[in-house]
């Protein structure tokens, strides 16, 4: 199982967080679980990069934090996408698609 995991390229984590939050507001733990789950355990988000990323996104105004109550009735910090974040998600998704297509094209050659 461990062998199948890969490290996230620079900048990709932001995109994944934004995407995850586009579905619904989440706390940090749930975000990392969600990414892991959806990527079938391939993408594992380390706390060491998750929280700095969240704080960075908040500072840029793409996500907003609010204290809420978790499923097991504990105070948890929930992050939600802001309109600016939604726009950013669109831009970054497009850029990512272009990049991955281009990379695929190059790799597929000959």
């Amino acid at each position: 199982m461990a062998d199948e995991r890969i490290d996230l390229p620079q900048g990709t984590l932001d995109l994944l967080i934004l995407k995850t939050l586009a579905l619904q507001p989440q706390h940090g733990w749930a975000i990392s679980e969600r990414i892991q789950q959806i990527s079938s355990d391939v993408l594992q988000v380390q706390q060491g990069s998750l929280y700095p990323a969240l704080h960075r996104l908040e500072r840029r105004g793409w996500i907003k934090a609010r204290w809420g109550v978790s499923e097991n009735n504990r105070r948890a910090r929930y992050y939600a996408l802001t309109p600016a974040g939604r726009k950013q998600l669109g831009t970054e998704t497009g850029a990512w698609r272009k990049l991955s297509a281009a990379v695929a094209q190059v790799l597929d050659m000959g």
Partner: protein
């Protein structure tokens, strides 16, 4: 962008909260992780261990989050400041000298500013004072009534008795009787001024109409006569022998219409009310029937509009209801601080002086920073080489300046607080509201602004010069770190020239004032003021002439019998202002004198041995004797000025003249029996005016309230005896404190003396700072040129020539500064003209003395570095390389 800012701010301001939140967030994550492992079947201990492993370094993670939060700008400033503090601590001598120098400049500025603020800038405490105006020439009561009803521009207008003899009253009751100035005002006066009483209430129009005897006290009177007690309201005050009930107390800030007004009471209670209110248009009574008024302009009305309307009203009144007591024009003047022109000028001069001191202090510190900067050239070079940008270097150097300025500012504020107290304590008492000077918000703001300005002035130039250093050059040039040496030397030279120029200007101004003071003190008074006591004895209003005369006679007789009293006499008006222009009606054998020929002339009545007591010098003829009675033809003693005016080149003895007033006693011929030397009793600064002295028996309607007593030995020991003696003769008389004539004369020039010493002190400080500056520059220059000096000496230069070279260099700087300063002084001292006495603004002696002083100081200041240079050991200096 906004969210970024908010985020950073929150991170900065609510640092703790953010930190706690981060903790909680991470803990939540951790717990969830543990929970997950437990659910997967691990024991709690194992789950915790795994989760912890998974998490990695918690502190590291937090630090990363903190980094992301980005409080770095603020933190880097804090870092710079910390670094600056460390650097300043590392060179304590530099820091202490720089901080003290600056603190001196900032402190002096702040202290003088606080005086300006209290005396000139602070609003008078009235509501919306911009709309208050007054009519300094006054008008008759009827006219005021007409103005009030006819004008459109005023919201309201309140009238009061002008500050004069008619509003001077006697306070009696408990304690010594005293003569004070009262405010007789209309009931709408206080609502119009908009100042609420500190205690009690103000009186109403009904009370004014009923002429009720009620009084509102000034803060001073309240403290003096009622011991600042809050039960003063309801008590009684004896004004001119009548009992007035105290209904209120005004705050100290309220000093209207004049500073010496001690109380306010309904205008209708003044003893002249009936006489003045009747508008007798057929008789010209001039000044005495006029009142003054203060008006509040309606919102939005300008002074010009008000003036225009009042002019129109006045000319209409002139046509419709002519009155000889009306003036041909009305002046509308905004109400503002009443300050003697010379006091104002003196304050400006002092402020300019402290600004100079601050500038000198700044250039001195800039100089120090540069000198130290040169030594830090390598540090700068290394930092530049390691990639620090120029702006980063400037910022760091500037932060050092700012920290220094901040520290000096605090120190300066302390100095200022001390200085203000000293100023208040030593200043002559004639400056209104000076006692209210202190450190308030405005002054604090000023101090902060001045410190900031200082930081910019002394910080920016060095930061600029130093950061321009070429790292290549500096690193190559080895340990001495002579970074940008040429630029620094030029800049430092310039600063020293500036310091000297400013000092020269200040010293010249101070020198002129000192010369004036010396000239003033050397003025021949025409009498001998030593050992002479004086005291004024006035009687309460309504006392008869006969009683006054009797008291004067008795007093003289009794005082004469006190042992060690050599002579005693009395006069009316010992110390009065400059006499007005008058003439005599007829001088025998001369054509009548027209009013155009009038010049200052004063009539005095004397009694007893007045001339002997004053130590006056009789030039010709004789003095009065008791034989000069009321039943013989009047005689007069005149002074030199009088004799010169009417009998030039003749012997005035035996000449006859008549006074100016045909209704009075002057209709008889008066014969001159003696000529005395002119006496400058009215002040050393005033020109000698002509005087006519009459004998009391021949001028029966005049009292002689000013007692003059010449004593053997210290006059002060007689003061109490004198007071008690007169008090024993009349319990109701108002007795001024017993003082010496010397003291009175000295008090007359106290303001001048104070200004002079203050300016001298400031210019001395400037001089000291400037010489420290030149010393610093020469010292640095010598240190820089050790190598060169070494070579010169090795090649045979003698120590004397080295000394000459260094001193010559210092002198060159001083000379340039001196030249610039003399030119500046030449222009600026002109502004001092009205403060000068006996010297001209371009007094060559002062200019020469200042120049010599400056040259001597420059030589002294550069001689220590010169001596050091001469001791350079050529071998050591060369080896050093």
């Amino acid at each position: 962008m906004r969210s970024d800012l908010l985020y950073r701010l929150r991170a900065l301001v609510r640092r703790n909260t953010v930190e706690v939140e981060l903790d909680e967030e991470l803990r939540f994550h951790f717990d969830e992780q543990v929970e997950k492992y437990v659910q997967a079947g691990l024991s709690l201990g194992e789950a915790t261990r795994r989760a912890r492993l998974n998490f990695g370094g918690l502190e590291q993670l937090k630090e990363e989050c903190r980094d992301v939060r980005g409080v770095s700008v603020v933190e880097s400033i804090a870092q710079d400041a910390r670094y600056a503090c460390r650097t300043l601590r590392k060179s304590p001598a530099f820091s202490v000298i720089a901080a003290l120098t600056l603190a001196l400049g900032i402190g002096a500025n702040t202290a003088i500013f606080s005086v300006i603020e209290a005396v000139m800038l602070r609003p008078l405490g009235y509501k919306d004072p911009g709309r208050l105006v007054h009519f300094p020439d006054g008008a008759t009561y009827t006219d005021f009534e007409r103005w009030k009803s006819q004008s459109q521009v005023f919201e309201d207008m309140a009238i009061y008795f002008r500050n004069s003899g008619r509003s001077r009253v006697t306070l009696t009751g408990a304690g010594e009787p005293e003569s004070v100035q009262g405010g007789f005002v209309s009931a709408n006066f206080f609502p119009l001024m908009g100042v609420p009483p500190a205690l009690g209430r103000w009186f109403t129009p009904i009370e004014e109409k009923r002429r009720e005897r009620i009084v509102v006290l000034s803060d001073g009177l309240w403290k003096r006569r009622f011991g600042a007690s809050s039960d003063a309201v309801g008590k009684a005050l004896q004004i001119d022998g009548m009992s007035f009930q105290v209904i209120g107390v005004m705050p100290a800030i309220f000093q209207f219409p004049a500073r010496n007004v001690q109380f306010w009471t309904p205008i209708t209670t003044n003893r002249y009310w009936g006489e003045v209110v009747s508008s007798d248009v057929n008789h010209d009574r001039g000044f005495w029937v006029r009142w003054e008024a203060v008006g509040r302009l309606r919102q939005g009305v300008t002074l010009v509009q008000a003036q225009a309307e009042m002019t129109a009203i006045n000319s209409r009144l002139e046509r419709e209801a002519p009155d000889p007591n009306r003036l041909s024009s009305i002046q509308v003047v905004p109400l503002r601080v009443d300050l003697n022109g010379n006091t104002r000028l003196a304050i400006y001069v002092l402020f300019a002086a402290v600004c100079c001191i601050l500038l000198i202090a700044c250039s001195n510190v800039a100089n120090l920073v540069l000198a130290r900067g040169a030594a830090r050239g390598r540090e700068m070079a290394v930092r530049t080489a390691l990639g620090a940008g120029r702006s980063r270097l400037i910022r760091q150097l500037f932060t050092e300046s700012a920290v220094l300025a901040l520290f000096s500012g605090c120190l300066g504020l302390g100095l200022a607080a001390f200085g203000i107290r000293a100023l208040i304590a030593y200043a002559p008492p004639d400056i209104s509201r000076l006692e209210q000077a202190g450190i308030d918000l405005g002054v604090l703001g000023f101090a902060v602004a001045v410190s900031a300005l200082a930081a910019i002035v002394f910080g920016l130039a060095p930061a600029w010069t130093l950061s321009r250093s070429d790292p290549n050059e500096s690193l190559k040039s080895g340990t001495r770190g002579a970074t940008g040496a040429a630029g620094i030397v030029r800049m430092r030279g310039l600063l020293v020239v500036l310091e000297f120029a400013l000092s020269v200007t200040l010293l010249t101004g101070a020198g002129l004032l000192v010369r004036s003071l010396i000239a003033l003190e050397a003025v021949d008074l025409g009498f001998r003021p030593e050992h002479v006591l004086t005291m004024q004895i006035t009687l309460p209003a309504g006392a008869s002439e006969a009683r006054g005369h009797e008291l004067d006679e008795l007093t003289l007789a009794r005082v004469r019998s006190i042992p060690n009293v050599q002579a005693v006499g009395a006069i009316n008006g010992l110390f009065e202002g400059q006499p007005g222009d008058f003439g005599v009606r007829i001088v025998e054998g001369r054509a009548p004198e027209g009013q155009t020929g009038w010049a200052p002339l004063k009539w005095n009545t004397v009694r007893g041995d007045y001339f002997q007591a004053m130590g006056a010098r009789l030039l010709r003829g004789r003095l009065f004797t008791e034989q000069d009675g009321g039943d013989v033809p009047p005689v007069a003693v005149v002074d030199e000025a009088m004799a010169r005016r009417y009998w030039p080149h003749e012997d005035p003895i035996g000449k006859r003249f008549k006074g100016f007033d045909k209704r009075g006693h002057n209709d008889d011929w008066s014969t001159v029996i003696g000529v005395v030397e002119g006496m400058r009793r009215h002040g050393r600064e005033q020109k000698l005016a002509a005087h006519v002295y009459e004998w009391y028996q021949q001028a029966p309607d005049l009292r002689t309230p000013d007692l003059v007593v010449r004593t053997a030995g210290d006059p002060k020991v007689f003061a109490a005896t004198l007071h008690n003696l007169v008090r024993g003769l009349d319990a109701t008389a108002i007795l001024s404190p017993v003082t010496t004539v010397e003291q009175q004369l000295s008090d007359q020039i106290a303001p001048r003396r104070f200004q002079t010493w203050l300016l001298s002190l400031f210019s001395l400080i400037a001089l000291v700072l400037a010489s420290v500056g030149i010393y610093g520059v020469m010292h640095y220059s010598v240190a820089q040129r050790t190598h060169e000096v070494g070579i010169r000496m090795a090649l045979g230069a003698r120590p004397a020539s080295v000394v000459r070279m260094v001193i010559g260099q210092g002198l060159l700087l001083a000379a340039i500064g001196l030249g610039a300063g003399l030119v500046g002084a030449w222009w600026l001292t002109r502004l001092l003209s009205s403060l000068l006495f006996g010297v001209t603004a371009s007094d060559p002696v002062t200019f020469a003395a200042v120049s010599i002083l400056l040259v001597v100081v420059a030589i002294l200041a550069s001689s220590i570095p010169a001596w050091r240079a001469a001791r350079v050991d050529p071998i050591a200096a060369l080896r050093c390389e």
